[in-house]
């Protein structure tokens, strides 16, 4: 139950960004392609060199080990990448003490219209849409306290888009996790509510 606060986050394409998300708060981000939306999310997750500070509740990013920060402030990129052979191998390892609870995973799978047998499937046989949905489950299984989502419903059919939206919304409400969501879809923003910002000319502006 922590808010997410950006304080002067800056990267090459963007002027310093100040933004505050309450616990469970939802903010949509849009802007022309190449305007630096993805780069902003990457900067918050500390994946690219950037200046500024991010607060998760009362804790600062700079005082936290990078691996822990990325586990707690989860980024879901537009294109999912996989490093092991099967789906199951990608889920958080009980040994590391991160979210060993597989019943969560089963619940998520069910919610997105997938069975638990997909855990044994090899990554190579997944469709783009399946990968996208499983990447979300992979992210939620590490129980992030804040979500950074980058066009996560872009490759999905309407049914699955609704399912994914529903799952994210449930997670946001139940865990009171702030969600920063890059989306081009005005209907999606209308469906889910929340505040909207747009990046214009390197500046973050509120959108009515």
């Amino acid at each position: 139950m922590a808010g997410l606060r950006l304080e002067g986050i800056r990267h090459s394409l963007l002027e310093p960004v100040d933004l505050s998300l309450a616990p469970g708060g939802l903010v949509f981000l849009s802007g022309p392609s190449g305007s630096g939306k993805s780069l902003l999310l990457r900067a918050i997750a500390d994946l690219d060199p950037n200046q500024g500070e991010v607060w998760l509740g009362a804790e600062t990013r700079s005082a936290m080990a990078p691996a822990l920060w990325r586990r707690r402030v989860g980024l879901l990129p537009a294109e999912s990448a996989w490093w092991a052979e099967t789906v199951g191998e990608h889920l958080p390892d009980p040994e590391t003490g991160v979210a060993p609870d597989r019943s969560d995973v089963a619940h998520y799978l069910n919610h997105l219209g997938l069975g638990t047998e997909v855990l044994d499937w090899s990554i190579a046989r997944l469709s783009t849409g399946e990968r996208q949905r499983l990447a979300l489950i992979r992210l939620l299984a590490q129980r992030p306290e804040a979500l950074l989502l980058d066009e996560v419903t872009a490759n999905l059919d309407p049914t699955n888009r609704r399912r994914v939206e529903g799952l994210i919304d449930d997670y946001r409400r139940n865990e009171e996790a702030p969600v920063l969501w890059v989306s081009h879809d005005p209907d999606q923003r209308a469906r889910l509510g929340g505040r909207s910002f747009v990046i214009r000319g390197g500046r973050l502006e509120p959108e009515p």
């Binding site: 990078p66 989860g74 990448a81 490093w83 958080p92």
Partner: protein
């Protein structure tokens, strides 16, 4: 031992000319490189023969040290040349030089003092050929391992960053790439050991036999050299891959492909 006259060497060089001619005829496009490499080796080997002649008469540690340094810096340059995506700044050179220094010099020293027991340990007749052979092989191993490391890291940007995002440390994220590149650096020497004697008589043993040495003695020396080379190559590749993979990440565990040179014709994806 039968002495070789310049005439004999000239005859042998005709074969290289023939090869260059064939390359030109078949449009393989390597004739220039063949000729330049042949000319280089002629010049370098003649020179080193002269230098060694002087060195052997003196047994002076500073002179031998200088020679060893020249060999090391040449090997470092060669490693750098073989990288498709080399590290920017001094790293492109120093990772290779440092890991070769670490492995070749320590293994040579060990061989001279403990295994062979040369007195004084820096007697050039032993030191220079041993060091040369170790450097030459370590150089190949380090060059292959580093090249694989940087190329795989470049291609696996997605999976590496996915592991970082899943809460992994830089070491977990690069683990697979690291293992793969280390393996590729070790394969040549492992293969060489596996086929030695069966398919090929290794160069050093051949030389000793041609020079009239007893074959069993030559085999024993060859065996020792191969063990030394295996250890040196392994150590050198490990050092290079460790330092190299560390350099691919910064203190916040970010994958920093901007620390590598962009090869011609391609630009890094602006994420």
């Amino acid at each position: 031992m039968i002495h070789l006259s310049p005439w004999d060497l000239g005859l042998a060089s005709l074969l290289v000319l023939l090869l260059a001619g064939m390359s030109w005829r078949l449009r393989l496009g390597v004739e220039g490189r063949v000729l330049i490499a042949a000319a280089r080796s002629t010049l370098q080997l003649m020179l080193v023969g002269l230098v060694l002649k002087i060195l052997f008469n003196q047994t002076s540690l500073p002179l031998i040290g200088l020679m060893a340094l020249v060999m090391l810096s040449a090997a470092g340059f060669e490693v750098m040349q073989r990288q498709k995506r080399r590290y920017l700044g001094h790293w492109g050179y120093s990772i290779g030089v440092f890991s070769m220094f670490l492995s070749s010099f320590s293994v040579t020293l060990l061989a001279l003092t403990v295994i062979i027991g040369v007195d004084p340990w820096y007697q050039p007749q032993y030191l220079i050929p041993l060091l040369g052979m170790l450097l030459g092989n370590t150089m190949s191993g380090v060059a292959i391992a580093l090249d694989n490391l940087t190329r795989h890291a470049w291609e696996s940007r997605g999976p590496i960053e996915a592991r970082l995002l899943a809460g992994g440390t830089w070491e977990q994220a690069i683990e697979g790439v690291r293992r793969e590149s280390l393996r590729s650096g070790l394969i040549p020497i492992v293969n060489a050991m596996g086929t030695a004697g069966l398919v090929s008589l290794p160069g050093m043993m051949t030389g000793q036999i041609l020079a009239g040495g007893p074959p069993l003695e030559a085999a024993k020396y060859q065996l020792m050299i191969m063990f030394l080379i295996a250890a040196g190559t392994g150590l050198g590749s490990m050092a290079a891959v460790w330092i190299g993979s560390r350099r691919l990440f910064d203190e916040r565990h970010r994958l920093r492909l901007d620390r590598l040179r962009v090869s011609e014709g391609s630009k890094p994806r602006p994420a």
